[in-house]
């Protein structure tokens, strides 16, 4: 995408995000992905990590919140273009002067924003049901990290959606892509537990850097230079994702107009 687009079309992005949230809050699937599944994971993790002490409650809240963020990115953002095709709105959206990636950006913004509900639900669960005292070690840095993470997630989502549209064979792996990312990004346990050869793969996943920095600023006193490094990685990946996404969108739209696949029939 032409990066100016996000600024030029900021109002459109917001309207798209608003409508996207309105259509999705009554969707059982979305609700499950961002509320119930992370909640169940949080309950499990709180029981399992109980012996590690109350310090780990915040770790669980952040970690299970991240699982909700990833699941909704994978399933909801991943399908964001296909969903438009199924409702028959894809043709209208493509046949418009607003660049299509701006529209998908807005949808992902909504998606990532509403996924913060995962973290809120986990927080309420740990604080009220389990009665843990919860506090953030570096609250301001945590919220800055959260904003940056949201942006990185949105950009990551922008590369996934066109891939799922163009390659059905990739989309078939969608179900199998949920838990490996939970594992490799260190959402609920450090990646040091994993075999060494997986470490480089973790480094290539933007959610890994988000998890590292979010855990670091919520349960520990992450040294500022390390935090800065995580931030830089997120920014770097966001830029790379945007560049890749802009090419993917171009190829996808051209291919769809050649193959006549904008509509399902």
């Amino acid at each position: 995408m032409n990066y100016g687009n996000i600024f030029k079309y900021w109002r459109t992005v917001l309207v798209v995000a608003e409508m996207s949230i309105r259509t999705q809050f009554s969707d059982g699937f979305v609700l499950f992905a961002i509320v119930f599944q992370p909640m169940i994971i949080a309950i499990l993790a709180l029981f399992m990590l109980r012996e590690k002490g109350s310090d780990y409650a915040v770790f669980v809240v952040v970690g299970s919140g991240l699982t909700g963020l990833w699941s909704s990115l994978l399933f909801v953002s991943g399908n964001s273009i296909n969903v438009e095709r199924w409702t028959g709105t894809l043709e209208s959206l493509v046949g418009m002067p607003t660049p299509f990636d701006v529209i998908v950006f807005g949808k992902n913004l909504a998606n990532v924003f509403q996924s913060l509900l995962s973290m809120i639900v986990s927080y309420a669960l740990a604080a009220y049901l389990f009665g843990y005292p919860l506090s953030l070690t570096q609250p301001i840095l945590f919220f800055l990290t959260l904003l940056l993470s949201m942006f990185a997630f949105i950009c990551f989502g922008l590369t996934i959606a066109p891939l799922f549209v163009m390659y059905r064979s990739v989309q078939q792996w969608q179900n199998a892509m949920e838990f490996p990312v939970y594992i490799m990004c260190g959402f609920l346990f450090p990646i040091a537990l994993l075999p060494n050869w997986t470490t480089p793969l973790s480094y290539l996943l933007p959610p890994y850097w988000a998890a590292l920095a979010l855990h670091g600023t919520s349960t520990a006193m992450m040294p500022f230079d390390q935090l800065l490094f995580s931030w830089s990685m997120m920014i770097l990946f966001s830029i790379v994702d945007l560049i890749i996404a802009s090419q993917l969108f171009k190829i996808m739209l051209y291919k769809a107009r050649v193959d006549a696949t904008l509509d399902v029939d």
Binding site: I40, L44, M48, I183, F189, P190
Partner: protein, 266 residues
């Protein structure tokens, strides 16, 4: 004899057809991804989490618990989709219009999923042995095999009930997902049942899977078949109760639909 043969044929037909219809659209790759890789990844996640929680002491506990829990992929999702599939395909009125034995039709829907689920568990346990250091050297393997089959059977019983409920509700996947994930908590796959609050323990005890997981863990620790046979009998009984509840609901549903003329709209 003739009736038995006919019903056997009907059972087999229903079984194969519903199973094939369910997976026909899938390519082998998708089958692999959703039936083998997804459950394994989920198992690894909880095993790592458990190992982190117990500082690496209790890995077998989590490997066995989560490997057995894999039965519910076939038991809950597979069976529900086979039962509910008739509604989505609009074939329910035709099915209810036939004179064939409802009981056979109904249980035929689950049969292949029992096999399918059991294979899934065996694959998961194999990965556990190869990658996670699971030790089955003191285990009565034939007893373990039987335990796996019984547990899969009882989970499919719950699946049959869920499938019938799915004929009543629009949001099938939501309910299914919810039950599937709840089993991760209640079955003792990841948390000792005794560590749960009393009301949760009660729920654990009336669900399938709980006793199957307990029996498998006992077998892995060297227990004999007679030690675990009471657990298997109860597990079997629980599965039967759920299956029968599902069957009665299915029959009730058919009568209701015919009386109220809602067959077309279901």
């Amino acid at each position: 004899m003739n009736t038995i043969n006919k019903n056997l044929y009907l059972f087999w037909q229903g079984t194969m057809l519903s199973y094939r219809a369910l997976f026909a659209w899938l390519r082998p790759v998708t089958y692999m991804a959703s039936k083998i890789l997804m459950p394994l990844a989920q198992m690894f996640f909880f095993v790592f989490l458990g190992s982190y929680a117990s500082n690496g002491k209790n890995v077998d506990f989590y490997v066995i618990g989560n490997a057995i829990q894999i039965t519910s992929v076939s038991g809950i999702f597979g069976v529900t989709m086979s039962v509910g599939g008739d509604r989505d395909a609009g074939t329910l009125p035709y099915l209810f219009g036939t004179p064939s034995n409802r009981f056979i039709i109904f249980f035929g829907r689950a049969f292949m999923h029992i096999i399918d689920g059991a294979i899934g568990v065996v694959i998961a346990l194999t990965w556990g042995v190869l990658l996670m250091g699971l030790d089955l050297s003191h285990t009565n393997l034939s007893a373990l095999g039987l335990t796996i089959l019984v547990t899969t059977f009882s989970t499919c019983g719950l699946g049959l009930l869920m499938g019938c409920l799915s004929l009543l509700t629009a949001n099938v996947m939501f309910v299914n997902n919810f039950v599937y994930f709840s089993l991760l908590i209640f079955s003792g796959a990841n948390v000792e049942v005794t560590a749960l609050p009393a009301w949760m323990q009660f729920v654990s005890n009336i669900l399938p899977l709980t006793r199957g997981i307990a029996a498998s863990r006992a077998l892995a620790a060297g227990a004999s078949f007679s030690d675990i046979s009471p657990l298997l009998v109860s597990e079997m009984g629980i599965g039967l109760i759920y299956g029968l509840l599902g069957y009665f609901l299915f029959s009730w549903f058919e009568t209701q639909a015919k009386q109220k003329g809602t067959l077309e709209t279901v």
